[in-house]
Symmetry: C2
Subunit: 191 residues, 2 copies
Amino acid sequence: MHKMEEKIRREGKVLPGGILKVGNFLNQQIDTAFLEEMGDEIAELYEGCGVTKILTIESSGIAIAAAAGISMNVPMVFAKKHKTSNVDGEIYSTTVHSFTHNTDYHVVVSHDYLLPEDRVLLVDDFLANGHALRGLVDLVHQAGAEVVGAAVAIEKKFQGGGDAIREEGIRVEPLACIASMSDDSITFCQL
Amino acid sequence: MHKMEEKIRREGKVLPGGILKVGNFLNQQIDTAFLEEMGDEIAELYEGCGVTKILTIESSGIAIAAAAGISMNVPMVFAKKHKTSNVDGEIYSTTVHSFTHNTDYHVVVSHDYLLPEDRVLLVDDFLANGHALRGLVDLVHQAGAEVVGAAVAIEKKFQGGGDAIREEGIRVEPLACIASMSDDSITFCQL
């Protein structure tokens, strides 16, 4: 998605520790017109694949997943980062390591919202080491449902998570894919 | 919004402790066609009010705020529940008590995303005791910006938070407003 690359070049900021800050349009502040376009792009990538549900993880994937859900006209589900008092009943649960916060956390989704007959598209804002996406794959498999593929706004290819997941036969589509980045330059992969 | 009342009657579930579970269409699982309608309804309620930005709080307000932002064509910002390594620079911060989790947490937003000239619409899924909304009002006032009003998917009027905020002169619009609820019945206020 050429426009995503443009946005990253113009509005993104590389922070120490290999963090790409896109809070100006993708997380924290969201450019809603661009959000709609992202949703449409994801819908186009997975058109005809029989997706019945979109699954993401709170918080920063929610807006993109919602936009994709609107565009594809399927329900969106977000996995929660801990068991709260308003997720009652039976849950699927997995553990995910957060690169940003350097901590492990539990990710849960109610049995009610992932069904064995679901064909699930995973959506998130970033794909780096792939831990969050692997957690979502695990939740879908626990439900006996099928992973159709994943769509992420930005893949940091140099961290290897995306390719490791592709090697397991899962389709992964980034809207922009970063080959390398330093304080003063970002190099994109060909999509 | 008549359809919201219908959805609550048909799909909502009252849990012990006065918790209304709407995870089937509003949080955790989101009915995305209905989400679009909620966004349009919020846009209609605040049409002509000069809203420049929508502010919500992670996580369950994000999807509705994004839908409202898409419909109103203004950016959406979500306040984060703690300072993370990818919110750099200066932040506005406030403390909010969570009724659901019975705990206090910090809520922050970067100075970059709330400007003194902003006219801000606050959006959230639930309004009960009003603590989350008050936290958002505080963040907007710290930025020297103006609160145009608030739109919430569901107000639990019997908990009093909405009326206390209205008494301070802030417009609060629920899409559905619950006067009272028990295990086997929900009574709505006239809107």
